[in-house]
């Protein structure tokens, strides 16, 4: 097994800045996806939230990575609104609590962080795979990451495969009929459109991959 650098508070800071930057770049795309089956504000809301997160983390000095994730989650809950705010907010808070006060963490702990995030999203949103939601991207990513890390794959490669699984999961929402969230009101008319929440989930995980790569 290749010895890897540990992940730390800087990784979390970079991850959040990477999310802000990719959501900014993809905002209009997310808005378009949401306009097709929702109300067209997903990109705007997520950008407002992660701008606030970057600002909040910038004002923090010296907190361990777990506390930074909890702070990021709390900030999302307080700034996003809609369904995305509580869902991603709870996800990051639950993930952060896994890390407690430790200053560094490694691949297997990152798996637990993301697994806790997924569990809280499923608990709060009551969505299961196939409902055409962010779960359709997040669950395959967590499964893939867990499997590859357990098999001893280098974290960068395991994360790349997890991101690919999330993106494939996002594309797989196209033929689905939505059963949760605002898109569900469209019934069969939700078929044929990619879910915006599953799409932004793919972007958020790619941002994590870049943040982890940056640290090495």
């Amino acid at each position: 097994m290749i010895t890897e650098h540990a992940l730390d508070a800087a990784t979390i800071g970079t991850w959040m800045r990477e999310i802000e930057s990719v959501i900014r770049a993809e905002r209009d795309h997310l808005v378009q996806l949401d306009a097709a089956i929702g109300d067209g504000d997903h990109g705007t809301n997520m950008l407002r939230g992660f701008e606030a997160v970057v600002q909040a983390l910038g004002a923090d000095s010296g907190s361990p990575p777990g506390r930074l994730l909890v702070l990021a989650g709390r900030t999302l809950v307080s700034s996003v609104g809609g369904a995305s705010g509580p869902l991603w907010g709870s996800a990051l808070r639950s993930g952060g609590r896994v890390l407690g006060e430790q200053a560094t963490f490694e691949g297997p702990e990152l798996v637990e962080v993301l697994a806790a995030a997924l569990a809280s999203v499923k608990d709060l949103g009551a969505a299961t795979p196939g409902d055409k939601t962010m779960v359709d991207a997040l669950e395959p990513a967590v499964d893939t990451l867990r499997e590859r890390v357990a098999a001893g794959a280098p974290l960068a490669i395991a994360l790349d495969e997890a991101c690919a699984a999330a993106e494939a999961g996002g594309r797989a929402t196209i033929p689905m009929q939505a059963r949760k969230g605002r898109a569900s009101y469209l019934g069969e008319r939700s078929i044929g459109h990619q879910d915006p929440g599953a799409t932004s989930t793919g972007l958020i995980l790619r941002a994590l991959q870049r943040a982890v790569a940056t640290g090495s």
Binding site: G38, G40, R48, G81, A83, P86, G125, R182, S184, Y185
Partner: protein, 339 residues
């Protein structure tokens, strides 16, 4: 940020539309309410009132006068407006709850949308931690949403206004938390709504219509966020449209024969009163023909979807108590009688 001058809306900065509008609401109604810009909440003047059950509602903006326009005597004690079509955040709801709690408890009136439900749930938990008694009731009267098991459930639409008025009157006369909560539930259980649209709306942030509706087409079963309806068809005469609305509402409500009902004919923001009264006339006639008796009504644009052209029909099967509470005095920016 550069102002998008091509958008035909009265804006300074699209990002500030909600805050600037709320400041204007407060400037216009200093006698009724105040706007807390820091928390982004609208609070009834004189709140909290010791011993009175308080009513708090909120949701995305873009549905004016809902909810800020219903803050005042006999209706809401506070409103928490989110960004346009986006649920407010728990901080706002908690601040509103704290601002109006007079020790008798606070009722949260929540429209059934995933975001509203999640954010209000978080706020209620925090309020309970702070020792405030909170009861939340979720409004879900929209019959256009079928297969509730396979969706986020029926949306909260017109019944929200009726519940706020009736339960608000109950709180004003001194009813306790359980009774006031009971009235919100009763109004929700005995109301059904159905909406139609002739155009999309244009959110200020994007400046673009959410959906295209070709001329001569109508969306049936729309919500209040510019989300397309379940079905699109050729626009017939107003009488045919009202046939669809009345049939959808009555077949689900199943009122008792000869039931006395309140008919709420609501405009979505872009349909003039000229047409709304025409629709009301059709609805009144068809409801009587179907064996129910409209004894109260509300006609106008009270729960809107920005500038969407369209209308919704809500029918509430009344009982004597609800009728008396509907008739009780109300004084808010958007509804006023008897006071």
């Amino acid at each position: 940020m550069a102002v998008e001058t091509k958008v035909r809306k009265f804006l300074n900065d699209p990002a500030l539309v909600v805050k600037e509008s709320l400041a204007g609401l407060a400037a216009a109604h200093l006698d009724l309410l105040r706007y807390d810009a820091q928390q982004q909440i609208v609070v009834r003047k004189g709140a909290p009132k010791q011993g009175k059950v308080a009513l708090v509602s909120g949701g995305g903006s873009g549905h004016e006068p809902l909810h800020g326009g219903f803050v005042g005597l006999g209706m809401l004690d506070a409103a928490c407006p989110g960004e346009v079509f986006t649920s407010p955040v728990p901080d706002q709801m908690l601040a509103a709850t704290r601002a109006v709690d007079g020790g008798a408890g606070v009722v949260h009136i929540v429209k059934n949308y995933t975001g509203d439900v999640l954010n209000f749930k978080m706020a209620a938990e925090e309020a309970a931690d702070a020792g405030i008694k909170v009861e939340a009731v979720v409004i879900d009267d929209d019959v256009a949403v079928q297969d509730s098991l396979y969706t986020a459930g029926r949306r909260g639409v017109g019944a929200t206004v009726l519940a706020e008025k009736i339960a608000g009157a109950a709180a004003e006369r001194g009813d306790g938390l359980a009774q006031v909560t009971g009235f919100v539930k009763r109004v929700n259980e005995r109301s059904r709504s159905f909406g139609v649209a002739l155009s999309s709306c244009i959110p200020p942030a994007s400046g673009k219509a959410i959906f295209d509706l070709p001329e001569g087409q109508i969306e049936l079963g729309i919500g209040i966020h510019g989300e397309p309806g379940r079905r699109r068809t050729t626009l017939g005469g107003a009488s045919e449209v009202v046939d669809v609305m009345v049939e959808a509402v009555l077949s689900d409500l199943k009122p008792s024969r000869g039931a006395k009902v309140l008919v709420f004919l609501n405009g979505m923001g872009g349909t003039p009163l000229l047409e709304l009264y025409l629709l009301y006339g059709e609805a009144d006639r068809k409801l009587r023909a179907a064996g129910v008796e409209p004894v109260r009504n509300l006609v106008g644009s009270y729960i809107t979807s920005l500038e969407m052209a369209g209308a919704s029909l809500t029918v509430l099967e009344l009982d004597d108590q609800m009728t008396a509470l509907w008739d009780a005095p109300v004084h808010t920016p958007a509804l006023r009688w008897g006071a």
